[in-house]
Amino acid sequence: MPIDEAQVRHVARLARLAVPDSDLARFAAELGAILEHVARLQELDVRDVPPTAAALGRPGVARDDEPSAGLTASEALAGAPASAAGMFQVPRVVEG
């Protein structure tokens, strides 16, 4: 199996996805099957082949440094699950 439950737990933490312990085995099996399939990529000889992150990339696109008005604070906060004092409110972040 290319991925075990401990790795699934680690990846879930990196992705900030709460995965119940009872689901770890199923995830490991499903991800394992997909990873086994894509392992076929190793069959190809790609020495000296450069990577393609975007097929038709456009270099050098940029815009002028002209500010323009965006949203108002109330528009920005309109969809927020919680807000106060003009800010998005989240449960306490422990700093430091």
């Binding site: 933490r13 990196l14 900030r16 992150a53 975007a54 990339g57 456009r58 270099p59 050098g60 696109v61 940029a62 815009r63 002028d64 440094d65 002209e66 500010p67 323009s68 965006g70 949203l71 108002t72 604070a73 920005a76 906060l77 919680a82 106060a84 004092a85 003009g86 800010m87 998005f88 409110q89 989240v90 449960p91 306490r92 972040v93 422990v94 700093e95 430091g96």
Partner: protein, 489 residues
């Protein structure tokens, strides 16, 4: 006296190795990837749009000016420029990081392999190598102020503000050098017009990597990262504390843990981060929403040519004009002052004397009044100050009178010649008039003449003083001295 001896001994045993990671906000009007304003101090979440709020479907478009400013910084630091540099995503989750990733440059930064030479501790010339310089976007700000029930509030006005990160090689060997490097870097970026580099507004931020190693060793010790240093002084203080802490631990046979520590300005200590840090895994990968930055060779050359004279070159130019290194440094350290001085030079002022008139006389008065040299309230223009210096040099007025003239110039904004004329302050250099005054003084003070003749040569000074008094200070003191000596035979 062991308290003094121990650090010295420790210093011989351990060598401090410091590298700095400096974040600098670029002086653009709009954000890195959207058109929201970058103005400082606006009410929370009033400078936001779909892009910097990371609304679904929004896309980044780079700010050309930000790229140009970053390029200026890289060129000023003598970096090798990568014309095909690219954007990457740095993935991590935090409430003030709206997209859940930061757009930055990882695999292909804008600049590599630069250097900065500066005057280090004790004035010795130091060169620090720049490992890399790359562009990225700022995050928002989290705060607890005014939030109910200990909740955290997130303000995204700063999210997406353009930054460069300048990573030095671990070439610094002490806390004072670190501070001096940082100040030199600040000045360079200020000259290059890259940033307003205001540490108090957070437009220049610094993290440090510190390690100690046995003197003579070339391997690096365990790296400790220090964060939250908010002024040049606190950088030096934090590093001094950390140097001492690590040395004491090593002396006691302990091992230094690789960790991140925060500087507590009030208590004057560093302490380990409390947040349980899982090993960071930022999963960098190429930003698919943006093509390569694509710097045309002509653009790079034009930018290089458009760079103004940088601090080191200006320092060298002033020294070549005869200014002592320290005096030149005072002028160079303040771009407005140096610009003022350059205008004085263009108006024909003599370098040394002009510099003294500027940094002692004018600056002294302006500082006392709390006025900047580039402020409209400073009513003496560089050309006028140069003219004042010219009047002194030609002997039209004495250095002493010049001070009164300067006061009047500051008060009225008048040209020095106008002040001199209006107040009748023209120096008396007429041989006949001075000779007459000398003879009058001699006639009125027979006792002094007798003293002089009896060998009390300082009696002549009294007579010179009498002439100056009689002419209300306007007589040329050299000529008066000569006339008295001549008349006394």
């Amino acid at each position: 006296m062991g308290g003094v001896g121990a650090p010295a001994e420790t210093a011989r045993r351990w060598q401090t190795v410091i590298g700095l990671e400096v974040h600098v906000e670029l002086a653009t009007r709009s954000k890195m990837f959207c058109r929201c304003s970058t103005a400082f101090g606006a009410p929370p979440n009033t400078q936001v749009c779909p892009v910097c709020l990371a609304l679904p479907g929004s896309l980044p478009v780079p700010n050309r000016r930000a790229i140009e400013l970053a390029l200026r910084a890289a060129l000023a630091l003598r970096c090798e420029i990568d014309p095909d540099c690219r954007w990457d995503r740095k993935n991590y989750h935090y409430p003030d990081l709206p997209k859940g990733y930061q757009i930055t440059q990882y695999a292909r930064p804008l600049g590599r392999g630069g250097e900065l030479t500066f005057a280090g501790a004790g004035g010795a010339s130091r060169t620090v190598r720049i490992r890399r310089l790359h562009m990225e976007e700022d995050t928002g700000k989290s705060t607890h102020e005014g939030m109910p029930g200990g909740a955290t509030g997130v303000d995204l006005n700063r999210a997406g503000v353009p930054l460069i990160e300048i990573v030095s090689e671990p070439d610094l060997r002490g806390p004072e050098d670190a501070r001096l490097y940082l100040q030199a870097l600040r000045l360079l970026l200020l000259y290059a017009g890259v940033s307003d580099v205001r540490m108090e507004e957070g437009s220049l931020r610094c993290d440090a990597n510190v390690s100690l190693r046995p003197a003579g060793s070339s391997e690096l010790g365990a790296l400790v990262e220090i964060k939250n240093m908010n002024s040049f002084r606190s950088v030096q203080r934090a590093l001094e504390y950390e140097e001492g802490r690590q040395a004491a631990a090593l002396d006691a046979g302990e091992r230094i843990a690789r960790e991140t520590r925060h500087w507590d300005e009030r208590r004057g200590i560093t302490f380990p981060s409390r947040s349980k840090e899982e090993a960071h895994d930022y999963r960098y990968f190429p930003e698919p929403d943006l093509g390569a930055v694509g710097l045309a060779p002509a653009f790079i050359e034009d930018t290089r040519r458009s760079l103004p004279e940088l601090p080191a070159d200006r320092q060298a130019r002033y020294e070549a004009l005869g200014l002592p290194g320290y005096d030149a440094g005072v002028l160079v350290a303040d771009p407005a002052l140096a610009a003022y001085f350059d205008r004085m030079l263009r108006a024909g002022a003599a370098a040394r004397e002009g510099a003294a008139l500027l940094s002692v006389e004018l600056l002294g008065r302006l500082n006392a009044a709390g006025i900047g040299v580039d402020s409209p309230e400073c009513r003496v223009h560089p050309e006028q100050l140069a003219a004042l210096q010219g009047l002194i040099a030609s002997g039209s007025i004495s250095g002493k009178i010049a001070k009164d003239v300067l006061d009047e110039m500051l008060a009225t904004g008048s040209d020095p010649s106008v002040v001199v004329q209006r107040k009748g302050l023209q120096q008396i250099s007429d041989q006949g008039a001075i000779g007459e005054a000398a003879r009058a003084a001699i006639a009125a003070n027979p006792q002094s003449v007798a003293d002089y003749r009896a060998g009390k040569k300082q009696a002549a000074d009294f007579l010179v003083g009498q002439v100056m008094k009689a002419t209300r200070g306007k007589a040329n003191p050299g000529l008066v001295r000569e006339a008295i000596a001549r008349e006394l035979g």
